[in-house]
């Protein structure tokens, strides 16, 4: 498979057995999604062939792939916003029809209910997908892939935005499918998931296959090394550099986006984690702090001064940086270059009387590319063509091109990026803290929170339910607070 200037896949042999869960791992840009898209008929291969049950298949469209028995949960969310959940489920398959040929809506909703029960969306079949949360959209995609009896089901990073309960639920579904003889291909950057779930794992690097291994016979660290082609020191807990100087104080913060009476302090040099399940309101807190949404109550004090009235530009001027959870749609202008994105926030500092000082811009961006090791190191490359990890680094670069921020809010900063890039992002977070910034880290990656944070707050339904210190925080404790509460509320 060839993209302009990139050989995305180079002579890869890959096979999956009947009734096996086969994981596919590799760095960002290793070619996992490309392989899957070829399997799914999205791109034609330039060389090679695909065999299903020993028979050569030759298809050129997703439709034909579906017919051949392959079903895919793509990495990107692919839903049609103004159509109902039920229609999204069936569109492209075949909507149930009456004898007149018209759509049988009653049957459609009935069928959809049955099929979506496995992913828990049975009560939402009539909702327009546009009103669903990101997680619910992902569950819909999963439901679509698993409920039509495909021979091979492919998951490309299905858990990126799912909560632990939903992940557990998904794993049960996947294991059931396997037990019924379905073959599963599973792509994820979360190695713990792979070792929990998969029977075998294929490792890709730079579009080439490195090898296939039984998960029982390798360790996560070995897989990481195979992926990166080098040794990666395993990440331990980072050294704290937290001071006792409060940089950000939040008192009684509430909003009509569901945040209720949130209080916390953030210190200079501190990494404060926010844990919670999807929909717990973490993003909403971040948006309030950054001035995207207006609070209905409470105070935000930065460096002892109250931020009011609050707004994005005011937040930036005060020294707050925000790395949103969805880099492609909120973080980047994809049709702009690395350079243009990196300088978007502080372009004024690189200009004289409003005119861009190109030499200075180039220099600043060159330095950022170096210090963040953005690859390829081309300032003029469109961010559209960067891998996820590098895209994330560009979003970070935006906040480092000017005055160093006092408070950095990161919302799922390592979601969907590979272990190597992840380590680099972690390094950056550490650097920022060491330079005296206060870091607010929203993450669904438990290990990440535990490794990086000085303190962790747990949110449920817009409220903080627990403050945990570095020493008392464990994965189990966090989950316990985040979920037991969730269940209590759900069944209260």
């Amino acid at each position: 498979m060839q993209f302009p200037g990139v050989k995305a896949l180079d002579n890869v042999d890959f096979s999956v057995l009947k009734g096996e869960i086969h994981a596919l791992v590799g760095e960002n840009g290793a070619g996992k999604s490309t392989l899957i898209k070829i399997l799914g008929g999205v791109y034609p291969p330039t060389e090679g062939e695909i065999l299903i049950a020993g028979k050569k298949v030759n298809y050129t469209s997703p439709q034909e792939a579906t017919t051949a028995g392959i079903s895919i949960v793509h990495q990107e969310l692919n839903v049609i916003p103004y159509m109902s959940v039920a229609e999204n489920l069936f569109i492209g398959k075949s909507l149930p029809r009456k004898r007149t040929g018209l759509v049988d809506w009653f049957k459609l909703y009935q069928d959809a209910k049955t099929r979506l029960t496995v992913v828990g969306l049975q009560d939402l079949v009539r909702q327009p997908v546009g009103r669903l949360s990101v997680a619910q959209r992902q569950l819909l995609q999963i439901g679509r892939a698993v409920s039509f009896g495909a021979k091979i089901v492919v998951f490309d990073e299905p858990t990126a935005c799912l909560s632990r309960t939903e992940v557990d639920n998904l794993f049960t579904v996947i294991r059931n499918l396997r037990d019924q003889g379905t073959s599963i291909i599973y792509v994820s950057h979360r190695l713990e998931e792979i070792f929990e779930l998969a029977d075998r794992v294929t490792v890709l690097r730079d579009g080439k296959k490195v090898g296939v291994y039984r998960t029982q016979e390798v360790t996560p660290q070995q897989v990481i090394n195979l992926m990166l082609g080098k040794e990666l020191a395993s990440e331990g807990r980072r050294m704290s550099c937290m001071t006792d100087q409060v940089i950000l104080r939040v008192e009684g913060l509430s909003s009509d986006t569901g945040v209720k009476e949130v209080n916390f302090d953030l210190h200079r040099g501190e990494v404060l984690g926010i844990a919670g399940v999807v929909g717990s309101g973490r993003t909403e807190v971040a948006r309030l702090l950054f001035g995207v949404d207006k609070p209905t109550g409470g105070r935000i004090m930065l460096d002892g001064e109250e931020l009011t009235p609050h707004g994005i530009r005011k937040a930036i001027r005060a020294g707050i940086a925000f790395i949103p959870e969805d880099r492609r749609y909120q973080g980047l202008v994809l049709n702009m270059s690395v350079k243009e994105n990196a300088t978007l926030v502080f372009l004024k500092n690189l200009a004289r009387c409003g005119f861009i000082h190109h030499a200075r811009e180039k220099k600043v961006v060159g330095n950022l590319i170096n210090s963040l090791s953005i690859r390829p190191p081309e300032a003029n490359r469109l961010t559209r063509y960067l891998s996820g990890g590098n895209q994330q680094k560009v979003v970070l670069a935006k906040w480092l091109a000017g005055r160093r921020p006092k408070v950095v809010i990161l919302d799922e900063p390592t979601q969907g990026i590979d272990v190597g890039a992840k380590a680099e992002v972690h390094q950056l977070i550490d650097n920022l803290a060491r330079n005296g910034a206060g870091i607010l880290l929203i993450s669904s990656d438990m290990q990440e929170l535990l490794n990086l944070c000085d303190r962790i707050i747990v949110m449920v339904r817009g409220k903080i339910v627990k403050h945990l210190n570095r020493d008392e925080a464990t994965a189990n404790k966090i989950l316990e607070y985040a979920m037991r509460k969730e269940n209590n509320i759900k069944y209260a």
Partner: protein, 310 residues
């Protein structure tokens, strides 16, 4: 109340407008006048309904007015050359469909942006029109039986209104209750998602243009029958009003997608506006100004109501 506004702002605006007109003009709310408005608006409605399909599939068409104009004179020409009426009608619709499929191919296979592609076919259709007519209207020898299509009535309802209602119902069913119709919306909603779920996106897009073209062809048939002649410049006026009707219709649903009933109401609004202002004897320049202001007010109400909620 604001939630009502959000949902029905445009329609409420429309109703208020009708109220004002009926208070100010004794003629407005008469059966005669309203059937006339329907009659006058039926062609705009049909052509705009076709464009609704194009836009529902995420496309855009600038050519339908000129294509309608071209087919109008071709239809007249065929009749003058003694082609039978049914054949002429079918040919008119088919030529529209052919133009639509050319648009569709240009957009999908050749990857030319909708706007550029259809602007070009608009220019070509207009050129062909003048090439064929040399600018002269064609009116000698159009049979009376054909004119009936545009000028005849059942009771007080003109044939064009009946045809429009049939098209409305058929397209409504097609777009909302058939698999293909839903696929059109799916493609318009998210091309990638549609493709990945196995929809033949290219064909669906071409099909939407074919529907748009066929609607322009049918409109041309009715127009020629109503004008009793093939008029070289007829049809061009449908472009802006047709687009306005679709866009007005789009304000009537929360998700803002083009839809059949919305377009119908949008076309009605355009028709009622002109009729009411004409009845009141409002000077033509005030009409332009009022038309602009009223559309802004109606749509503004809706969108403001909506924004509050978000």
């Amino acid at each position: 109340m604001p939630s009502v506004l959000r949902k029905y702002g445009t329609i409420i605006g429309f109703v208020i407008l009708c109220l004002i007109f009926s208070i100010l003009s004794p003629v407005f709310l008469t059966v005669n006048n309203l059937t006339m408005v329907l009659l006058q608006g039926s062609m705009l409605t049909i052509i705009a309904l076709g464009t609704t399909a194009v836009m529902a599939a995420g496309g855009f068409d600038m050519s339908f007015g000129s294509v309608c104009g071209l087919i109008g004179v071709l239809v007249a020409g065929m009749l003058v050359h003694k082609v039978s009426i049914p054949v002429t009608i079918i040919a008119g619709i088919l030529i529209g469909a052919v133009f639509g499929s050319i648009n569709g191919l240009l957009v999908t296979v050749f990857g030319i942006a909708d706007f550029v592609a259809t602007l070009s076919t608009m220019s070509i259709a207009r050129g062909l029109n003048y090439f064929y007519t040399k600018g002269d209207p064609i009116f000698m020898g159009i049979p009376q039986e054909f004119k009936i299509i545009g000028q005849g009535k059942i009771g007080s309802i003109g044939y064009p209104v009946l045809i429009m209602l049939v098209v409305l119902v058929l397209l409504y069913i097609f777009m909302n209750h058939t698999v293909t119709g839903r696929q059109i919306y799916a493609v318009g909603g998210n091309k990638t998602a549609a493709r990945l779920s196995g929809i033949n996106v290219r064909w669906i897009r071409i099909l939407s243009f074919i529907i748009g073209g066929a609607a322009a062809g049918l409109t041309a048939v009715i127009l020629t029958a109503r004008l009793g002649s093939g008029q070289p410049t007829a049809g061009e006026g449908f472009l802006l009003d047709g687009l306005a009707a679709v866009f007005l219709g789009m304000t009537m649903v929360k998700e803002g997608e083009p839809h059949i009933i919305g377009t119908f109401i949008g076309a009605l609004i355009m028709g009622v506006l002109v009729n009411g202002l004409n009845l009141l004897g409002v000077q033509y320049f005030f009409q332009d100004i009022l038309k602009g202001l009223i559309i802004l007010a109606a749509v503004g109400l809706t969108t403001m109501g909506r924004r509050k909620e978000e």
